[in-house]
Symmetry: C2
Subunit: 144 residues, 2 copies
DNA sequence: TTATTATTGATAATAATTCTCATTTTCATT
DNA sequence: AATGAAAATGAGAATTATTATCAATAATAA
């Protein structure tokens, strides 16, 4: 599924790349490079951390995955399952829980805002990055 | 202005803190910790980098300044001049130019979106973080 | 199969940030 | 103004995520 059969990429189809794509495409959640490294080792024991970083860069560049910064000091990665959607995050400052919120491009709540910006500043938006920080349902209760 | 006269803080009024607040409150732009360090040295030659980091953390916590991540590997800081506004950024991927876009809370384009999230996920938003990446006016021309 | 060359793993290097600790400042109290 | 307790500081070491280096290996086209 990730890359089918036969030649279809401008890059070599290596074990590390295939295993990493498979891993991330099946992962729910937002893993760091090192977490991915240890998971990958289970199926490809000889893999090196540098290769993980390199592959993550590559997959990010070609748009198969996305890199996020949730302000915990390390980058986190997520497979892009739906190319036609925007993907936002709610991050609980208390317990670290991350809630995904995905919407189709058509019903993107930021659509109008983005359009107005493109006009107002003559700025061509290529990607946007939105996180909400706060308290999840559970942690709100514990606050009392 | 930063802190008036007399006791008004739960922290000590030190030279470093006063100088750093003054510096940031007069700075247009988004300086990194090290840039702030060198600027600060001009007026307080003995200051240490660790103190700059510590003070930036403190001022961020108490809400006098805000820390941003523009994906260039270092945190950047900005004085909060208007407490009643949202402050967004457009970042040019080509030349690095950063455009500020500030709106009052009332006319915040994300207001409805935020409200819907608070309801839908029962998530209490404390802060939000939105950046747009793309091409500024100039760099769009150069692309051709 | 072979030649070419991209990719890899190990490890050293980098760089932003944090930590440690002895010394200095601040500030409430004399 | 002098004192003392605690907070804050500066210097530099330590930490940690990420990059760079380079000889060895694996993927591809011929
Ligand atoms: Mn997600
Ligand atoms: Mn700004
Ligand atoms: Zn929570
Ligand atoms: Zn530009």
């Amino acid at each position: 599924m990730p890359f089918g059969k036969g030649r279809c990429w401008r890059f070599r189809r290596t074990q590390a790349r295939e295993a990493l794509i498979k891993l991330l495409s099946r992962t729910k959640g937002h893993l760091s490079a090192e977490e991915i490294f240890w998971e990958l080792k289970k199926v490809l024991p000889g893999v090196g951390l540098a290769t993980v970083y390199r592959t993550l860069d590559l997959l990010t560049e070609i748009g198969l995955i996305k890199r996020y910064d949730f302000k915990d000091g390390k980058a986190r990665y997520e497979f892009i399952h739906n190319d036609n959607a925007e993907h936002y995050h709610l991050i609980c400052k208390n317990c670290g829980k991350i809630i995904d919120y995905e919407v189709t491009l058509e019903e993107d709540p930021l659509k109008d805002f983005k359009n107005s910006i493109q006009k107002k500043f003559n700025f061509k938006i290529e990607s946007s990055d939105l996180q909400f920080y706060g308290l999840c349902e559970n942690c709100q209760k514990l606050e009392k």
